[in-house]
């Protein structure tokens, strides 16, 4: 719907200009990962498969094998997503469908935390993990990241449970099913779009997470791909070909998801996913 009387040429030109930096950045990443030398965006050397040697290499400069970092990243993101989905759904179900004193206070706290910037708590979280003996463990980082995802998750799932038709639940309850059974067998299957949305959010956010593993993990055997890649960036002489290959390797799942589901991601981040 053309709502504004705008000249098309001007519009196309500005759109092109606005997208150019992002396209250039992605092109740089791919080209630098594939070629020996890249000047600007022009390959100046032959194809360089040796950039990708890190994948099979047992260790690059004293780092753990890339496979270990990859496995840690996969474990970390899927654990965060799975725990966040279950825990947030349970809480959201209680807030949305059950009655208890302090319900609106609980939701108010969740909402305040949703707006509250959690990074400012990092120093205290570091201290608490040390006290709990969970510092420098993947479990500790998983728990922290999950907790930080919860306000968003509870809020999102509550929106889905609110639109649940309660006749089905009522019928199941009258037939003698327990609340727990209703939650798992009746309510959860009906909010699948919500679970998918929260899962995507949590996966993407955990996959990219840098500050938490960087701060809360020291031992390189627990590194994720984020800390693995970052360890290359701080070197005095960066081999950009190899580092770009590591970066592309790390970003590949995100790029594939982006390629397949950009419409879905737009809806998701625009807050348009509804049950």
């Amino acid at each position: 719907m053309p709502l504004l009387p705008v000249r098309w040429r001007w519009l196309v030109a500005s759109g092109f200009l606005l997208c150019a930096p992002i396209v250039a950045g992605m092109a740089w990443l791919v080209l630098t990962a594939l070629f020996d030398r890249v000047h600007g965006l022009v390959p100046a050397g032959p194809l360089a498969p040796e950039n990708w040697a890190f994948v099979g290499s047992p260790s690059v400069g004293g780092r753990p094998p890339a496979v270990v970092a990859l496995l840690n990243s996969v474990l970390f993101s899927f654990a965060v997503a799975a725990v966040a989905i279950v825990v947030a759904s349970m809480a959201a179900y209680a807030i949305s469908c059950l009655h208890f004193p302090g319900r609106s206070l609980y939701l108010a706290v969740v909402l305040v935390l949703h707006a509250f910037p959690a990074v400012s708590l990092l120093i205290a979280i570091f201290y608490i993990l040390r006290v709990l003996g969970l510092f420098d463990t993947l479990v500790g980082v998983i728990l922290v990241k999950t907790a930080l995802e919860l306000p968003l998750g509870i809020w999102l799932m509550k929106g889905f449970f609110d639109f649940l038709s309660w006749e089905m639940e009522m019928a199941a309850l009258v037939d003698g099913m327990s609340r727990w059974g209703v939650f798992w067998k009746v309510a959860l299957p009906m909010v699948r779009p919500g679970l998918l949305a929260l899962g995507t959010f949590a996966l993407l956010s955990a996959w990219g997470e840098f500050i938490l593993p960087f701060t809360l993990i020291v031992s390189s055997r627990s590194w994720t791909l984020a800390t693995y890649l970052q360890s290359f960036l701080t070197e005095a002489f960066t081999d950009f070909g190899m580092v770009a290959a590591v970066g592309l390797f790390y970003a590949l799942p995100v790029l594939v998801l982006f390629g397949l589901g950009q419409r879905y991601l737009l809806n998701l981040y625009g807050g348009g996913v509804k049950g």
């Binding site: 108010a108 737009l266 348009g272």
Partner: protein, 314 residues
């Protein structure tokens, strides 16, 4: 007799109420535990640690020092510079975020979906790309000639991150944040009735007049929300600065409040980290964060969000 019956009825009612409470409690237990452990407790811990002399040496046995950390903070000769940097970072990035977000929303909602969606999707990329990869790309593009694209285009060979750290920080952060406003404003523009645009066109309004007199007034709330929300998150965010410049180059050139707190407490370059001092700086952010988020809740109408559940069986 009657007394006894009434007591029995009351007891049964109490029992039922308790049983009714059990179920929600169990459902809420895991979330409450995690949120208490890593949100509520850290708020208290930050405040507590900020009143102690905790550091690497005294980690196991911190002493209460009252307001001393805060007094030191106020006396810090670099406080002015850090405050200035923070103001600069937040205001410039915010201006970029809102400005470009609005521009993108306006542009993409006035072309057909087929053209608008890819542009919007592309701008989502910086946000979903892992931050370390995103920063790696910035490093690659801003290298010296003949490698760096920026150097080649401008014609001056420089490492642009060290030459123009502030420009790079604002652009890099801004391109991540712009999609937030873009998506918010796009859906707001879409919900404007088309009649208004036809009326404006009939009255002979120019593009600029339509934006200024029709669209912007109707975007007042989304604009306010995006500004409020992003101010708070920018105030506390330091991830991209840490990765891009690590607060440099040189002495505190791009160190903002949150990064300084983080480095005081958690980076061990100086050997003995000043944990308590870092906690004091973080505590200021935490207090600001709590106050501002509660204000948001007031501002953006909480009551409407909390409807009572329809079903009352446990």
């Amino acid at each position: 007799m009657e007394e006894a019956t009434r007591a029995a009825v009351a007891a049964r009612a109490r029992e039922r109420a308790w049983r009714g409470l059990w179920v929600p409690l169990l459902f809420l237990l895991p979330a409450t535990l995690l949120v208490s452990l890593f949100y509520l407790l850290p708020v208290a811990t930050t405040l507590y640690l900020s009143f102690t002399d905790i550091s690497t040496v005294t980690f196991r046995n911190p002493q209460w020092v009252g307001w001393e950390n805060y007094r030191d903070l106020v006396r810090d000769p670099f406080l002015g510079r850090i405050l200035g940097n923070t103001a600069r970072y937040v205001s410039l990035t915010l201006a970029f975020n809102i400005g470009v977000g609005l521009l993108l929303a306006l542009l993409t909602s006035h072309v057909p979906e087929r053209a608008g969606n890819p542009v919007r999707a592309l701008w989502l990329l910086p946000r979903i790309l892992p931050p370390v990869v995103y920063v790696l790309i910035w490093q690659g593009l801003t290298r010296e000639s003949p490698f760096g694209l920026v150097s080649n285009v401008v014609g001056v060979s420089r490492n642009w991150i060290t030459a123009e750290p502030w420009t790079v920080i604002v652009l890099a952060n801004g391109m991540v944040g712009a999609s937030f406003g873009m998506l918010l404003f796009t859906s707001a523009i879409r919900s404007i009735p088309a009649d208004l645009f036809y009326a404006a066109a009939v009255d002979g309004a120019t593009a600029w007049q339509t934006v200024r007199r029709v669209i912007l007034p109707l975007l007042r709330w989304p604009l306010l929300f995006a500004t409020a929300y992003q101010t708070l998150s920018l105030l506390t965010s330091f991830e991209y600065i840490l990765l891009l410049t690590d607060g440099g180059p040189g002495f505190y050139t791009t160190t903002v409040w949150s990064l300084h707190a983080y480095k005081l407490a958690l980076s061990n370059y100086f050997g003995n980290v000043q944990f308590g001092m870092g906690a004091a700086m973080a505590a200021v952010l935490v207090v600001v964060g709590v106050v501002v988020s509660v204000l948001y809740l007031r501002l953006f109408n909480f009551k409407a969000l909390v409807g009572e559940p329809k079903i009352e069986v446990n």
